[in-house]
Symmetry: C2
Subunit: 328 residues, 2 copies
């Protein structure tokens, strides 16, 4: 019997989860929930119905795991705890500073209602976090580095779009190659924000807009750009659509540390991702953890968990004997 | 109260575990057991006594976790199941083909006697296995690649040393850079043994030995070298000791796969290690899993486990709230 998945929210992430389910033969898409007009939405998977978000609770016995595909700013803080009253849930809550309070809120309802919730699933938080944890446990006293990119930052692209005279924009975050090399050498350099990443903006200006003023507004923008070396390129709308339509991303988690009675040996642990589609990769991680949530729930587990709390074997459709024989 | 560790076997790995304990403030080395004469052995940690291997069972109440540091060929298949009658145990059993039967044997005694055993801990099997599992769960339908090196292979070095006329030798396994690049491109190439790794041997010949015959014996040796491009260098004993005393190793686990309704997006997940000391890194992983074994045992768990069965949080000395706040 396959795992019956529900998707709440049908943006880039929701569509990504739909694709991920197609790639996992032990899963089945049961329903898509939206806050828009369900009649106006059609999904890619044949035979799957779209329902109003409000109707989700009534389908609690037909869905094994509900994957929440809303945003971290306003959707998930409200949705995840509420949906954990009716479903095993998985979300990709990624506001790092607010994870503790989100965990508490979700844990309360999931525990009370006997469901499993897995929060902050994806690649950062998610796979990057796991790699930080494993590497820290293996090399205590070492030093962690996280680099992001090359990839599109939605938040930074939005910030540029809000500047007067900007019609559209795409922002790439790019790790500095020499900084990566310095880290990999094991020398444990102290790196400033500017030394770790550069930013590159492709901007479509409104007709007649003052391009110099736009550029100045970008490179001096506090928090977003002021602390970085930022390149700004003005291009046509056609070029933007043709060359910058994708949502690639990725990055590097590196820990270096020493062993030996006199710390005489140095080690480098590196994990990296190169992703053509940020939302589809995140969705693929969500699908794997939906499997884990389902299996944990069937074993009687309940409450909120993160990637730290789930044994890796729960993510795989294969059993322990198979994994030991073929993957260990 | 710190975790009281015992070490069984005091070779490179046992000394590595001793160093790892020094780096983990929540652990304490309680005893070292050896099959050699305990009186002839002195360890690096002040105040720690050396005992005969036979006396280990009598110390079962003074040790929380016994780390088995013997070899996979003959030591561990016998030692790990036997010691699991008296202790929580961790080993680095690395004969991949025999892991299933080792697991069964260890699981039987560990379960019967109420202890936790963790087998096949290290980096391959170990961290590489974990990365294969995570990447497979995220990108079903993708393709796995494992590369080893650059590093010293003990087995291949020994094979060269057994050739008549060879006084000493060191063998390096080296991944082929162009093969790594082909894999990272996402093209999922089929790679032969020869295309993935080269081998390099540094050989000290006995005086008057036939170097051409030695070289021929190396490059044509079945299983070990015949399927590889192998470079053979004759050097002096001084050079060998000066330039090839270390035991570096490392490698790469890469999985590429596609997402999207039409598999239109490609992704690359890569994990790599660059290790100055293979045994000390393996030992550091053993120490982290000793912590997990201890904590699992205190929760009432028993039986044999692998890295697949243990939630990452068990490896860390920090609690869940700390991990969520600082590492997620």
């Amino acid at each position: 019997m396959s795992i019956r998945i529900g998707i709440m929210g049908y943006g880039n992430l929701g569509r990504g989860v739909e694709c991920a389910i197609k790639h996992n033969p032990d899963m089945e898409l049961k329903a898509v929930f939206t806050r828009r007009d369900p009649g106006a939405l059609s999904v890619l998977t044949e035979g799957v119905k779209v329902y109003s978000a409000e109707d989700a609770p009534s389908m609690k016995d037909e869905i094994d795991v509900l994957i929440l595909c809303g945003g971290s700013a306003t959707d998930l803080p409200e949705q995840t705890p509420r949906m954990a009253e009716y479903f095993n849930v998985v979300d990709s809550f990624d506001t790092h500073a607010k994870i503790p309070e989100h965990f508490e809120a979700v844990d309360r309802t999931a525990s009370d209602h006997g469901y499993v919730a897995v929060i902050s699933v994806g690649w950062d938080p998610g796979m990057f976090s796991l790699n930080r944890l494993y590497a820290n446990a293996i090399l205590p006293g070492g030093k962690d580095y996280t680099f992001w990119g090359k990839g599109v930052s939605q938040g930074h692209s939005d910030a540029v779009r809000r500047i007067p005279g900007v019609k559209d924009a795409r922002q790439y975050t790019i790790p500095v190659e020499s900084a990566l090399e310095a880290v990999r050498s094991g020398s444990q350099p102290e790196l400033s924000t500017r030394q770790k990443h550069t930013r590159e903006c492709f901007v479509v200006a409104e007709e007649g807009a003052d391009k110099e003023a736009i550029k100045e507004a970008i490179v001096t923008m506090p928090n977003y750009f002021a602390d970085y070396d930022t390149a700004v390129h003005f291009i046509s709308e056609e070029e933007l659509l043709r060359d910058h339509a994708g949502i690639p991303h990725g990055g590097f988690v590196i820990r270096t540390g020493n062993t030996g009675m006199k710390d005489e040996h140095s080690h480098v642990i590196e994990y990296s991702l190169k992703l053509d589609s940020n939302p589809e990769f995140t969705s693929s991680v969500l699908a794997a953890y939906a499997r884990a949530a389902y299996r944990l729930s069937r074993e009687g587990a309940k409450g909120c968990k993160t990637v730290f709390d789930i044994a890796p074997a729960y993510l795989s459709p294969e059993d322990g004997a198979f994994l030991r024989k073929h993957m260990l």
